[in-house]
Subunit: 392 residues, 3 copies
């Protein structure tokens, strides 16, 4: 039996063979119609582990699967025969499985007891390949892309999730993480209620929660309420999500250590060292930004109950309670225009009043409302100065 | 044995017999004193299924129950004898039970294994009848009314829940939905802790959570955190409740598809197509509206972190961060008064400045704060125009 | 065998013997290295039960433990021999165990079945003594201090928790309250996922949730979402914590019956009869108060989505949506200065405009923003008048 390197080489010589952009090995829950409703990836690879991919595809082909390298994605079942053939070339690695996640996943799949589901479910093991970042076409590839985000392989807005809402089924999830189809619940409600076995539903959604799938890569990340973070959120190491009024949607998140006590809507990125204060809202492309996704720079402070509707550079402050929307008119004094010009060389501060969207992405702005006149102003932020000094 | 139609006819001929406004069949959890502490309705009927009601009442009477048609509500235990006698007239329907929810519930009650509770609890099956919408007098009728709201049989403010707080016991609920009486927990704390069996309490409240009892009637409704919606909330199909800072109390909710990222207080109704932005608060009769319940019309937008303390018509916008309370003074320019008058024929726009409560229920208002002067203004909303056009 | 009084007397005569400030008896979960990762106190004593403490220490010494009265804290394992010797002097009380919590805890520890943990955990029983309120030095003493706060033995800011973050391990907790070390999860992820046994993680944090450990002492306290209250929060009887945008951190809380729909940051105290409105933020020493901890007086109303960054006296109102920070300039009219002076005898109202921090702790202030001019003002609060009248 040739070892995995030989098989990989041979596969790579085949006409049309392509290395995947990403692939993963998953346990997949299926409903009575055989449709996939939940995907647990045991391992996810991004631009990596090409030999493992080749060996799995080789085993699939040997077992009769028709390989597809022309579609952006491909989903294959890993039944017993495939698992045997995929594992054999790796037999030299069996005594150091912890170093070889894909091999370990295949071996665990082979050993896993067939579970009898009471909910008319079945499960299968699958390999999911992504060749191009096109619109996802399966529940499996949506989950794979959400994993790529939450495992920090890609950043928010770097991967295509168009149509994900249409692909994922809307499910009721109980406290232990078990999904129920709504139709199944409706059919069985009466007997479940009368027998005292009606499940305690924790939420109804198309997206699972991040903590049901992802272990942070560091020990400093904290998420005080799993309901607050959807799978597909991007939490850089050191991010803390408090349980008050916070929320991080999929395809959104932090690029460094950030204290999150407010809302990071889909498409939003927040830079390292920033604070999203209690109840602060950062608007997403679906909620008030006219389609312009918002990035918040590093070391910014979004005050409690503030609302940010425009992109911010580094070291900015939005005062507590303030809403800075695209059309908000912002006064900047001559003195502050001069100071701000020094750290925003490419911007021409040529007037007194700006619409907030004109100030998009500038550094060191401190937005406040003058409590005597009600006027909204921007001044040089104290965070900007610190930021500046730290560069010297 | 006469069939259910005959029995129903005979019952209806009896002096004093009345069809119920609503009735339901429930499994009821009882504490050591025999008090009801949790009610799971397997089926709830509203102005419907009068024959089933009559047959159940007939079986109760036959088994010695004294029927009461003079009180606004009546609660009866469905023990084995009653269940037998209530089921027999329906025997012709036993092969199509899924079409006959009440019969199925009776049959499931009969078949349900007696559960031995470890918590010194027992359970019984009960039929709960509501004849008039008076103040509820039992745990069972409070639950029945909360079900009527959450199953969308009645709208918020349409049913009397006065005194519900005094009737429902305050309980600790664990993650699986099991209720614990606080006194029981106190008595058993030491041994439970020392044996590592202290339950993981998820919340302490008089009201259960909606998702522990109710399956949405459509597949588009989503509730991302069950803690956010009390039983007795009214979620019209298509409503989405996000997990950030949202909350829907009992006797409150949506009348159509609404995106909910903020708080809908008790007594509040929100119309179809409206958005309750992240952290937006709509005040309830117990929290700042001087007892005037708030309705928000259709296609409104309540911006992130806004606060709404007055009723709004259709197509209104409250900008992010803004608080519109009863006494807020609102400036409307001559031009906007003219435009607004066209879609609010019954209102006389005869001055420049209005208290917000004077504008209650008007259509097409866009509330904003002038970011140069701090003045709060109302103008014609772009949502109003869309709304208007859609009517032509 | 001498009884507990004799033993206690003898122990108290020993040179160096000291009564503890607090002590407790706990079941402690240990990881594979024997490190304590979770502490469940079955009973906690504060300035009390000195005889029980003496008997336990006597039993420890008899079984070879070296007692330490010079450190601020001491942690001892209660193995079988210690438990026997500690229980024997109390044998006369065995038929009324419910009146003697410490004895009951010792007896339960002795009887508790040894649990086999699947997670490579073990557990032990321990007695934890606190002699001085110094920086905590162990997981056990941090938990003991958090219990002292949440059992209302001490108020927020009355006990030293410096360094607690460094001592507590960051853990993943599943829905049933079981803690997992992140490293263990990473090592076992693949097999858990492939076998369908990956735990449903509810949160990742150093602090457990209050409701996993504490039963309120009254039946009126309600906490609608356990995620909202960390162990170490101080909830006075009658406090209600709603699930929308609320949060109470450790070392923070209420001093009387308070309706909490907003955020009470670490170090904050809120007085009886106050309302913390939906989404209202009270800033903590770590979030914008320049290190000045905030107390909110009695019968205050913090409006929905308001932000409070300065201490308030009794009967104050902060209007919905308003942010009162240290530097906010507040106008007070001559008329209101006169009225406010009557209930704030020690304050000299000698100008028109004040920075909010100058007004710290004054009674009866109503902060609002003039909706015509944007100016922030303070007037005499209607709550102040009520408060005043209630004193006569």
């Amino acid at each position: 039996m040739p070892d995995f390197n030989e098989i990989s080489s041979k596969m790579h010589e085949k006409a049309g063979y392509k290395d995947p952009l990403a692939f993963g090995i998953a346990r997949v829950l299926k409903n009575m119609k055989g449709e996939s409703i939940k995907v647990d990836f045991a391992v996810v690879n991004y631009k990596n582990s090409f030999a493992s991919a080749a060996v799995i595809l080789h085993a699939l082909e040997k077992n009769g699967a028709k390989l597809d390298f022309n579609s952006p994605e491909a989903v294959y079942e890993l039944h017993g025969g495939v698992l045997n053939d995929a594992l054999e070339p790796f037999s030299s690695l069996f005594n150091e499985l912890d170093k070889h996640a894909n091999v370990k996943a295949l071996k665990c799949a082979k050993n896993a007891a067939k579970v009898d589901y009471t909910l008319d479910y079945s499960h299968s093991f699958e390999a999911v390949f992504l060749y191009d970042d096109a619109k996802p076409a399966s529940v499996e590839s949506v989950y794979l892309k959400l994993y790529l985000l939450s495992k920090n392989f890609v950043k928010p807005r770097e991967i295509c999730l168009d149509g994900a809402f249409g692909i994922l089924p809307n499910l009721a999830w109980d406290e232990s993480g078990e999904p129920y189809e709504l139709e199944w619940l409706r059919e069985h409600e009466i007997e479940l209620k009368m027998e005292g076995k009606y499940p305690n539903i924790a939420f109804i959604d198309k997206f699972p929660r991040m903590l049901s799938h992802i272990i942070p890569s560091d020990n400093a990340t904290r998420v005080l309420d799993s309901a607050k973070v959807r799978l597909g959120a991007h939490l850089a190491p050191g991010t803390v999500v408090m349980p008050g009024a916070s929320y991080i949607n999929f395809n959104a998140g932090t690029l460094g250590s950030v204290m999150v006590e407010g809302r990071i809507s889909s498409s939003v990125r927040v830079g390292a060292g920033s604070d999203v204060g209690g109840g602060a809202s950062i608007l997403g492309v679906l909620s008030g930004t006219n389609g312009n996704p918002i990035s918040v720079g590093e070391k910014c402070l979004l005050g409690a109950n503030s609302t940010t509707g425009v992109p911010l550079g580094d070291g900015c402050i939005v005062d507590a309670g303030l809403a800075i929307l695209e059309g908000t008119k912002v006064f900047i004094s001559a003195d502050n225009r001069k100071k701000l010009a020094q750290i925003n060389k490419d911007f021409s501060f040529d007037k007194e009043i700006y619409k907030a969207r004109e100030l998009s992405g500038l550094n060191g702005l401190h937005f406040r409302q003058d409590s005597r006149s009600g006027q909204i102003t921007a001044a040089l932020s104290t965070r900007a100065i610190k930021l500046n000094e730290s560069l010297h």
